[in-house]
Amino acid sequence: EPEVTQTPSHQVTQMGQEVILRCVPISNHLYFYWYRQILGQKVEFLVSFYNNEISEKSEIFDDQFSVERPDGSNFTLKIRSTKLEDSAMYFCASSGTSGTGTQYFGPGTRLLVL
């Protein structure tokens, strides 16, 4: 069964450093998403991406965040200058259609900013 994959599974970084989180969505999916979950809290939407551009972003997704689909398979989330409060689990998701499509989640990347 096809699945969303994410790398790395864990990342530890120093405050102010740049991190890139990588995702490989399900191959025939067209819509891609990033969510985050701070420990013990609910899952929050960050950004959605379709046709090589951002469809929607939340207020969390400020100028220090960016997304990219550098090739036909990868979908990345970059945090330019990490802050302590960026420590969270980051989930990538994909769906085949927007509006009606079920979003399938990757296993997540656990980011710790020291």
């Binding site: 819509y31 998403y33 969510y35 979950q37 809290q41 609910k42 899952v43 929050e44 939407f45 959605s48 379709y50 469809s55 929607e56 939340s58 689990m89 989930f91 998701a93 927007s98 509006g99 009606t100 079920t102 979003q103 399938y104 989640f105 990757g106 296993p107 997540g108 656990r110």
Partner: protein
């Protein structure tokens, strides 16, 4: 703005018994989708079940079923014949075609007693 409320932070069930997890939501949309996701200790987000608002019939998926009350904006998950592997955090989520994002509730921690 759409909101999803899970008012019970924790529930416990005896193995082989049935448990119901509650969820309410608020929306002005008529066409939307509701989901239950399971998050085990690994923190992966696993789709449990999906319900389309235009369908009157409640969704079922093996031991999992929902009680969808559109007028009351209620969407509860029933787990029959509970198993130890059902122990996890369960999130209710809402999705509409008007935007791309899933809106999650705060989640409920389900424990299963052997």
């Amino acid at each position: 703005a759409q909101t999803v409320t899970q008012s019970q932070p924790e529930m416990s069930v005896q193995e082989a018994e049935t448990v119901t997890l509650s969820c309410t939501y608020d929306t002005s949309e008529s066409d939307y989708y509701l989901f239950w996701y399971k998050q085990p200790p690994s923190r992966q987000m696993i789709l449990v079940i999906r319900q389309e608002a235009y369908k009157q019939q409640n969704a079922t998926e093996n031991r999992f079923s929902v009680n969808f009350q559109k007028a009351a904006k209620s969407f509860s998950l029933k787990i029959s014949d509970s198993q130890l592997g059902d122990a996890a955090m369960y999130f209710c989520a809402y999705y509409t075609g008007a935007n791309s994002k899933l809106t999650f509730g705060k989640g409920i921690t389900l424990s299963v007693r052997p």
